[in-house]
Assembly symmetry: D2
Homo-oligomer: 156 residues x 4
């Protein structure tokens, strides 16, 4: 592995650690990373009573789904920044990452959010100098597609 | 007040009670109604450490904003159902409401979610037999517009 | 081929004929079908001076892209109706198709619309009794992904 | 009127002239400005056989509506640039305007596009250094709200 690739991986690992452990609302939902590369990420979380939106049917709240998909998309926007600025100092990169923000988000709710464990995945459709666009999906443990989304992120 | 208007108001009050007290994730966010009519609703919630998305800046998580706007829009879709089926039995209305669901949601994040108290408001743009469309806004206590959204709901 | 499959294909062919030849604005853009099945459709159109949006750069107008993606998504919503109501009479199906309409549409513009020939493709993400959701893509002749979209259609 | 305000108005007038006369697809739809300020714009166009999407009902094609709303939103993004860079040279402003582009667009189709004359209006929700967000509406000559939209534009 080249030094660069190694630096890259360390930074992605640090990103995953930050997102999962230092963002309070991500901990409320119970998000943690199953995988993260510059190509794709997978975030998982377990069904929990407090995440329910329709108490008759016992399904995920739409806001939980939006949260997981926004975080997955934002993670890829951050991963794109890490890749694009591979030679930036730790401090410079940290400043860039702290400015990253969601511009807009669309979620299509396709099926009721039933299941025991959910996986929010994302890939980048556009990794520009100012704006990144990600496409996201939410599956349950039976690989049923529950929701898809599209998010635009400011990365400049 | 006519008997109908009175029944109407009782049902809206019951709806508000259900949304605020019986939907677990709404309680996580701390949503409660400031007002609810067939024209418009306002849901408020207070800033709280656990709702933070960017711990450096101390601003609301995008998923919290999406949650509040989705609930505000869904409330208006439900209020539209109550108005449209004014002569339905309690049971019939209850079945209709339990089937109500978000089809899709768009959120535009306009400004960082800074503040002490937030208000998510919604009005209906379309109240059809199968589909309702709501427009939503999130303001902080200084009346700064933090986000807007648009949601499509299945009400048939 | 079974009689049903044959009826199916005839109806899809009639749908393609209607969309390409009897919808005036589709003719303005020059849309015609490369393929259409119940799984997926591909609509193609050629670059033309009148379709330009940025005359300095000579690229497609965003409205042309939105048009092509909306038609591709709507076609799949119609194809879903044809499949779901396989035993309906010609007249019944025709009434259903005439009521089909776009509820909402999101387009992400990923790259400038440069090229000689463009292909708008669509697949169904959801084929419900009242609502269909399609995902769309626009490529140029070099297989560059120019735009993606998501559309919700009323099919009830 | 101050010299600046006068320069401002000249540049807005030049912008309107460019959008209406030098963008081929805007001419296909027949768009022209009724008004344009840094606060708001109104674009009008007349019903025409070639703009029809549903030939049974004789209503506007969804792509025509998307076109008009995208142009209205993009105009406000451009007007925001003109305001923000009030002291820029003609050449510098022209370069900035030529780079302006739609990042994404959402349209909600609320009512069938019936009427004789349509007005697409837009206001800015966000006028940042890199990204502008506009909210758009389409009315017919009876002030019926036919569609609303939201667009994100790259202006950096």
């Amino acid at each position: 592995m080249s030094a660069d690739a190694s630096l890259h991986e360390k930074r992605l690992a640090a990103l995953a650690e930050t997102f999962a452990s230092h963002i309070p609302f991500n901990q409320v939902v119970g998000l943690h990373f199953r995988s993260l590369s510059t190509e794709r990420c997978e975030l998982v979380f377990k069904m929990d009573d407090k995440l329910v939106g329709n108490y008759v049917q016992g399904i995920l709240h739409g806001g939980v789904i939006a949260t997981a998909l926004d975080v997955a998309g934002g993670t890829m926007a951050a991963a794109g920044l890490i890749q694009k600025h591979g030679d930036a100092s730790e401090n410079d990169l940290s400043i860039r990452l702290s400015k990253l923000g969601t511009i807009d988000l669309r979620i299509d709710y396709l099926r009721p959010g039933r299941g025991q464990e959910f996986c929010a995945s994302a890939t980048l459709l556009r990794a520009g100098n100012k704006v990144a666009v990600a496409r996201m999906e939410l599956h349950n443990e039976n690989q049923e597609l529950i929701a898809v989304g599209s998010g635009t992120y400011l990365v400049g």
